[in-house]
Amino acid sequence: MKIAVVVMVLAMVIVLAGCSSSVVAVVVPAEVEATVTQPAIPYVANNEAQMPSVSDAAAEAKMIDKDWVTPAQVDIGNYYPGARAEFSLRVHNGGNEVGIYDVSYMEPTNTKDGYSMPPASAGSWVTVPGVVVVLPKETKKVLVVLEIPKDAKIDGDWEFWTSVMRQGQGNVQTQVATRWLIKMR
């Protein structure tokens, strides 16, 4: 009997030794696996082929002489603090000279129904390359990464934008903005 008690106590000690002050802290959260293949970060030009993106070859053939960006909207679902989401914009230079484009995070001018303006810290959660150079008539992938700290508190679904603007325009300039809709888990 004494031996049984000692064994029980030892077993309990072993179990408690594997725990922190909170039992749930025993578990290390599993790695998030996105449904698309993600390249290594930081952005490296020779990984462009691996970057997830969308395209419509037939539509793009008709728009070869125009500057454009796709997609117009990215939907990120089942997202949560600590997760990482990556997707690529595609920036096309329809001109005959090398184009330098500024890629930036921006707050929405308006949001889709059901989505709120981004939290104040959202700008620090989004990584964009800043500047991308595109040769004439060519298209470049631009990786956008969303990574929210594990301890971030977010209420409900929200939205942010990214803008792409060609440098060298006059004092009346244009840019395009992609919507990023974040649906929280």
Partner: protein, 181 residues
């Protein structure tokens, strides 16, 4: 002894019961979806050069540099904005504060104060000059729901306040196109 053993077993059971739910946590998949919709815009008037301007003076970014008639019509507009993308879109407009010397701040109303300018933008179809949008540092909608290949013709009016210096000024107006939702 039995009581001690029972107590130990109960404690051990409680510990294990609390641990099991944590070990049951599963991998969560973040989903990312997108459709190949294309955003693009052209503007056929990329510059507005004003030259020397007086205090409390108004200049017009219009076809004939004069005040447009009411309602605003194509013939008076300065330029054309085209949605050259594939998706129905909205166009917003903003203007950064002017730089140079003490600078000019964008006025929030139609009465610019010292070192302020009142900038307004309008499109064909607006009933009056008062219906033109007030352009500031923050984006404001100029036109929504422009279909693919759709166009709008537009103009601007700039009114100065008073000046505290005579240094040249430069401002940049930005038109942003985004998907209409």
């Amino acid at each position: 002894m039995k009581r001690i053993l029972f107590t130990l077993l109960a404690i051990l059971g409680l510990v294990l019961v609390q641990a099991i739910p944590a070990y049951a946590t599963t991998t969560a998949d973040v989903t990312i979806t997108a459709t190949p919709e294309y955003l693009a815009i052209t503007n056929d008037t990329g510059n507005w050069t004003i030259g020397a301007i007086a205090e409390a003076f108004t200049v017009y970014f219009t076809a004939d540099t004069l005040v447009p008639a009411e309602p605003l019509a194509d013939g008076d507009m300065k330029g054309t904005l085209t949605n050259t993308g594939s998706v129905t879109s909205d166009i917003n407009i903003k203007c950064a504060n002017f730089t140079g010397g003490v600078g000019w701040t964008m006025s929030a109303d139609e009465t610019p104060a010292a070192n302020e300018v009142n900038l307004r933008a309008g499109i064909t179809g607006m009933a009056t000059l008062a219906a033109m949008v007030q352009v500031t540092n923050a984006d404001i909608e100029l036109k929504d729901s422009i279909i693919a290949a759709g166009t709008i013709m537009w103009c601007m009016i700039l009114e100065t306040g008073t000046f505290t210096d005579g240094v040249g000024k430069s401002g940049v107006t930005t038109l942003t196109i985004s998907k209409h939702v």
